[in-house]
Amino acid sequence: MSLEDGRFVIALAGNPNSGKTTLFNQLTGMNQHVGNFPGVTVEKVEAELSGAAEYMPKRAAERITLVDLPGIYSLSPYSQEEIVARDYIIREKPDAILNIVDVMNVERGLYLSIQLMQLETPMVIALNMMDELRANHGSADVAILSQKLGVPVIPIAASKKEGIGELLETLLRTAIEGERPKITDFCTGAVHRAIHALSHLIEDHATAASLPVKFVSTKLLETDSVLLDRLEVTPLERHTLDELVENMEDETGTDRKAAIADMRYAFIGDAVAAGIEKPHTTLHQDRSARIDRLLTNKYLGIPVFFGVMAVIFWLTFSVIGSALSGALGYLFSVAGSAATAVMTEAGVNSLVRSFVSNAVFAGVGSVVSFIPMIIVMFFFMSLLEDSGYMARVAFIMDKLLRKLGLSGRSIIPMILGFGCTVPAIMSTRTLTSERDRRITILLTPFMSCTAKLPIYGAFVAVLFAQWRGLIVLSLYVLGILIAVIAGVVMNRFVFRGNPVPFIMELPTYRMPNLRTVGLLLWNRTKDFLQRAFTVIFVATIIIWFLQSFDARLNPAAQESGSMLAAIGGFIAPFFSPLGFGTGIAATAILSGFIAKETVISSLAVLTGVPTVMALETVLPTIFTPLTAYSFLVFCLLYTPCVAAISVVSREMGHWTAGLVMVIRQTAIAWAVTFAIYQIGLLIFSA
């Protein structure tokens, strides 16, 4: 197979924080296709090498697909990312593995490399961060390293685009010639003999299951039960296996896993001692330590974190995010009015006019209005992650969140949830553990978002004037409280799987790469538009339809005659035990499906007042202070808006997730409101 007529698939593997994403982005461009690995919610990014056009003919570059495997430290069967990565290489049989190793963390990087080498796939090691090594007066002799490791080793500095040409050249040559790693035996003595014996034992099974023999033998020594199952060995063979390993353990005096780890590190140590001159200084690590003296300082660390979050929050939701959202919203309403004017001129039917301006423009406008917030949020999240600060956040917040079964990283989506649930849920992408991500997504809607503030504002102004601050505060606190309880319940009963042990690297601080940030923004925004757009748009149209027509499908003369109001009247009795069982309240709550701000405008329309301001006069006639508070509690806790629902479905991987969330949130809202209202009745009537 030559470059001219073949298609190549290259798998990119390496530790987290090794510059893998930077390299991937250098080699590809805006053509990245983001999806999931089959059957799991682990993200898979692949693209053709369109960023490599300066190193090879374009036609050739287009035939090479690069698949970004999740960042992993080993090929154990314990985490989803590791299983996904090794299964991809074993099953999909890419033409080559591009293994990126951070030369400043070379031993740990090579620990993964020598496991990859056993997968019988052509492989090239890209030794990254050579610029940092040089700056610290270290050096690497790649010829010696290649010889010791049995695979080509190419020095690069991905962030500076150094060495890419040579890397690609070697990579392709290796792929075309199908050059497999020359060394697959890393152990000596008793361990080596044990692996050898194991290989003989399971060779047939491994070949039958299309599994690389050396890899499987070594993993069996580490008691990899996942692979053992795939081999389908007989009980007798199983027994022989166990005996083999136990004998080895007796001989070496340590347990099997430690024996193998020792062997690996010994082999690596030998190669590194020969091929790498360790740096005499540690400039970047020293700098990181200095920065951490502030950022993970015992007294200042947490305040600084909250300061950073406050700035991000403010910029996302107040300054940039809301300014741009406001501008877009304004543009759309202007366009909508213009369209209305044009249609009126042309004598277009009033219903169609209403459809175009209230459904189409409003629907599109509402989707688009999220985009500035999402972009700003991802921009900051990306900066935090790429610089290395995010790991510090996980470090300092861990103790607080572990009671919910979560890691420190989960604090950020929850804080963002106080601004808007949509970008908050999307920011859970930074969470590496799938379990953590799911729990966090389910808890975020309990954080009272800013769209609910107008609801609080209207009621507080009218019914609780002296207590306004306290009332609003109590709602926020209630939301957090319910979240904590829900979290504890979920941690104990629902997500009972073993949480992944918290061992995390604190990478050295590095300047974020602008290209990486840009591509991330592009991919995420594109993703949101593609997924959320249809859902939100369709939901807007449905609600418009329900608001504009009555039960006989005639245009409704006024809102109170519409189907939506009819539905509201129908479900009103469900809210009687909560204190607000009127058709008006129920319809307003229904309209909150689209956006929380709509609840207030809906109340205004249904009660016949000309403006939202005038609600002041009418609310006290419909609500008492207690029923008003119940209403607010319900609004706080029930289903989030359709945009959030669609994002939840997207992030959880299945559309039913959104539906389940709607039901669960509404049920919780009902239960809590019921409790509060009934207790309130008891207290106030006594």
Partner: protein, 118 residues
């Protein structure tokens, strides 16, 4: 210079004083969690330092093999270390047997030459 304590003084890693070093003697336990510790480089014979604890006291930050790791105290309790005292050379430059990895010799390292002999 390095002074090794005898095994009677072995502690678990989380019992080290912040800023002090130890050589890992054993990693207890079984299963996924222990394998993860070994995979991340916490193997017997490795020189490790406890840098600091998080502001709330937990988790702790360890330095080993040239990088920083954080581990929860309860999880770190299964790693047994022999404390190492009088260590005045940057741990990044030491391999686990106390030799300078820059020159692979004990005693010829320019940094060590600059220090007063103990």
């Amino acid at each position: 210079m390095l002074a090794y304590a005898n095994s009677m003084d072995n502690k678990s890693i989380d019992q080290l004083a912040p800023g002090s070093y130890g050589i890992i003697k054993r990693v207890e336990g079984r299963g996924a969690f222990r394998d993860r510790l070994l995979d991340m480089g916490l193997t017997p014979g490795t020189l490790v330092a406890l840098r600091k604890a998080a502001p709330m006291g937990d988790p702790i930050q360890l330095s080993l093999r040239g990088y920083e790791l954080t581990v929860r105290k309860s999880d770190a309790a299964c790693v047994e270390v022999a404390p190492v005292s009088d260590l005045s050379v940057n741990p990044f430059r030491l391999s686990c047997d106390g030799r300078c990895v820059s020159c692979a010799k004990a005693g010829d390292c320019p940094e060590k030459k600059a220090e007063p002999q103990k």
